[in-house]
């Protein structure tokens, strides 16, 4: 591929992402293109609410692929993530097979056939006809042991089930891994992935997102909403509002019929602030005077 076609593809991908409802800066589009080229997993880090998960959804929409999601949690083990035998059906089958004429080996083969296999996300992802987008969400919540297990899958794209043998991937899924950084991930995992860090959006990008996702908000109000949220993010808060909060707040303002953000309306802004500020301490950090001052500056 030459540089010119690459630049063209970059622009095209960016447009497609925008059509899918995701505003991507060129840097992210470049990384996604590279990910498609190299077939490597993409590790995305960033604070909560900056749109990490949305990347996978938008990618699935652009590629018209199925999105398979594995939500990680503490104590997630291989069975919950890969496969499990359907014990109830197997037990039932054992009862039914008692009067069967076939040999024991055959019966057993039958018992451990794919019919009794429950596919969990990871097995599902590598055995489809079309390559899906596999989203492994919040991997930092899972244990290190699971991370090692995952690494094995990501390097070979095969999975061994003792009773069935090795399952080879029919397709290679596009893997997007997100992390909130509550735990240090292993270097081995980081080495195997492309890396992208999503920061809070700047004014222009957030405005574009608000215009796209909340078309009911007037241009001027959208401008003010974004300016207000941007200045709230500069205050030292425990939980800074993400893009989802901005959109929630815009919807709340719209619902209450507030058409402009200014110092006079500080009281009404305070009523809706629950959509933006999610902890009590943060709420205390934004008393009426501060809100009025921020609103006046919009």
């Amino acid at each position: 591929m030459t540089a010119t076609t690459h630049a063209l593809e970059l622009g095209a991908l960016q447009d497609e992402l925008a059509d899918a409802g995701y505003i991507a800066e060129p840097a992210l589009a470049a990384v996604l293109l590279l990910m498609l080229d190299l077939g490597r997993p993409l590790l995305i880090e960033g604070d909560a609410g900056v749109g990490k998960t949305e990347v996978a959804k938008a990618l699935a929409a652009v590629r018209s692929a199925r999105l398979i999601r594995l939500q990680c949690y503490e104590g997630l083990d291989a069975h919950a993530a890969m496969y499990e035998w359907n014990y109830q059906r197997q037990l039932l089958a054992i009862q039914l097979l008692e009067h069967d004429e076939r040999g024991v080996a055959e019966k057993e083969d039958d018992l451990f056939s794919e019919r009794y296999l429950l596919r969990r996300p990871l097995l599902e992802a590598i055995t489809r006809d079309e390559p899906p987008v596999l989203l492994i969400d919040e991997i930092d919540r899972a244990d290190e042991a699971f991370e090692a297990y995952l690494l094995e899958l990501l390097s070979d794209f095969q999975l061994s089930i003792p009773e069935l043998g090795t399952v080879q991937a029919t397709t290679r899924p596009l893997v997007v891994i997100t992390s909130n950084g509550t735990r240090e991930l292993s270097d081995a995992l980081r080495r195997r992935c492309l890396y992208h860090y999503i920061d809070y959006p700047d004014h222009a990008k957030e405005l574009a997102i608000v215009r796209l996702k909340a078309p009911g908000v007037a241009a001027e109000l959208a401008q003010q909403i974004v300016a207000f949220v941007q200045s709230v993010r500069r205050i030292e808060l425990q939980k800074r509002p993400g893009i989802a909060e901005t959109l929630d707040w815009a919807a709340a303002l719209l619902r209450l019929g507030i058409s402009t953000v200014d110092a006079q309306g500080a009281e009404r802004i305070l009523e809706t602030l629950g959509a933006l500020i999610k902890t009590r301490d943060d709420r205390a950090a934004l008393p009426r005077e501060v809100v009025a001052r921020l609103a006046a500056a919009c």
């Binding site: 069975h79 980081r190 890396y195």
Partner: protein, 378 residues
């Protein structure tokens, strides 16, 4: 368009590109010589003339964590824009010498590094102050006792269990899926039972050691404890603080005692000065906590609690740490003095957030509180 340019330009560009991974390695990135090949591969795909795209693509390829990501642009410019190149590379070598390995990355952005390079000559007074004391780090007295105590501590720590369950040979509850699965072999009769039991997961330790002047009598004792513990458990992280928090794991846990001394020498700036516990902890929360502290981490603070800063800052910082960490234990060397009560402003602000406040001025008192500490960590 790599293929259209003159061959010698092409080879020069290739040489520059191959060197980039090594340059990042010299700046503390976790990349190696083997990364030169993917770098060339990526450059061939996106072209070397489209600088922004090349930058974004290489950034995704070569960065592995947020702090690397943030420093990348500067390093990219430094390498591919010739005039700054050597100057920057040398400066980064210098910084690595000062703080040493891993610690350098955690301490702060490029701005901080600048300040560090400038202020180092002025720190010589402090270094002299510290020089006699640092020898105590490898002192022979009590060395064997300290090591034995920490080995004991580490061994008991490994026995702690957490709530998560796993399959076990003998256990508390029946593992039904596995039992049924095993029963298939015996015609549905569950001959071989499978059990689940609580998994042993040792909490990971983060040690925050106060080295301010008021702690002068005790801080070396704690540093030696930390060093001995680091030798037993691979994943102990140690920080020292007075008016700011500094990562010392790499230096303190260096296996060579002489080298550990030398490396600590270099970070001794501000040693034995005033204390701002609250601000130091707040800085820890900002810069290190996301990487070092998670739900399996126990934080052990070793300080006398004499804080010259605002107590609300301390209280807020501890509350923040509390939300991240599994346990917070505070070892206070003054605690077992007759008539001591935690009435200093700092201790008052800290108490509501602690799982345990324990004395620990010397080996004997520490040995006495060890069971309580283990209980609190479990």
């Amino acid at each position: 368009m790599l293929s259209l340019v003159a061959p010698e330009f092409e080879s020069r560009a290739a040489a520059r590109l191959t060197g980039f991974a090594g340059f990042l390695h010299a700046n503390g990135y976790a990349v190696g010589g083997a990364d030169a090949v993917p770098v060339l591969d990526v450059a061939a795909r996106v072209g070397v003339l489209d600088a922004p795209t090349l930058r974004w693509s290489l950034r995704a390829l070569l960065c592995g964590r947020a702090d690397e990501w943030q420093r990348f642009d500067e390093l990219f410019d430094a390498w591919f824009a010739p005039p700054n190149r050597w100057q920057r590379a040398e400066r980064s070598e210098l910084e690595r010498g000062v703080v040493g390995g891993e610690g350098a990355a955690g301490i702060g952005g490029a701005g901080d590094d600048d300040a560090g390079a400038v202020s180092r000559p002025q720190a010589s007074r402090e270094e002299r102050l510290g020089s006699t004391d640092f020898r105590a780090l490898a002192g022979r007295e009590h060395a064997i006792e300290i090591e034995a105590l920490m080995r004991q501590f580490a061994r008991r720590l490994k026995r702690l269990r957490q709530r998560r369950e796993t399959r076990a040979r003998h256990g508390r509850t029946l593992d039904l899926p596995t039992t049924i699965r095993r029963s298939v072999g015996s015609g549905g009769v569950p001959l071989h039972l499978a059990w689940r039991d609580r998994r042993r997961v040792r909490p990971r330790l983060v040690l925050l050691i106060d080295v301010s002047r008021s702690m002068a009598d005790y801080s070396f004792f704690y540093l030696r404890l930390a060093r001995a513990l680091g030798a037993e458990l691979g994943d102990v992280e140690s920080f020292i603080f007075h008016t700011r928090m500094t990562a010392v794991s790499a230096a303190l846990h260096d296996v060579d005692p002489w080298r550990a001394q030398e490396r600590l020498h270099l970070i001794a700036q501000g040693w034995a000065g005033g204390t701002r516990i609250g601000e130091s902890l707040a800085q820890f929360n900002r810069e290190h906590a996301a990487r070092s502290v998670h739900r399996r981490t126990a934080v052990i603070i070793m300080s006398d609690g004499y804080d010259t800063g605002d107590p609300t800052v301390l209280s807020g910082a501890l509350a923040g740490l509390r939300r991240r960490a599994r346990r917070i234990v505070w070892l206070n060397p003054l605690c077992n003095r007759p008539g001591y009560a935690p009435i200093s402003q700092g201790m008052q602000a800290a108490l509501p957030h602690l799982d345990l406040l324990a004395p620990g001025a010397d080996l004997a008192s520490l040995r006495a509180v060890l069971p309580a500490v283990l209980d609190a960590l479990g």
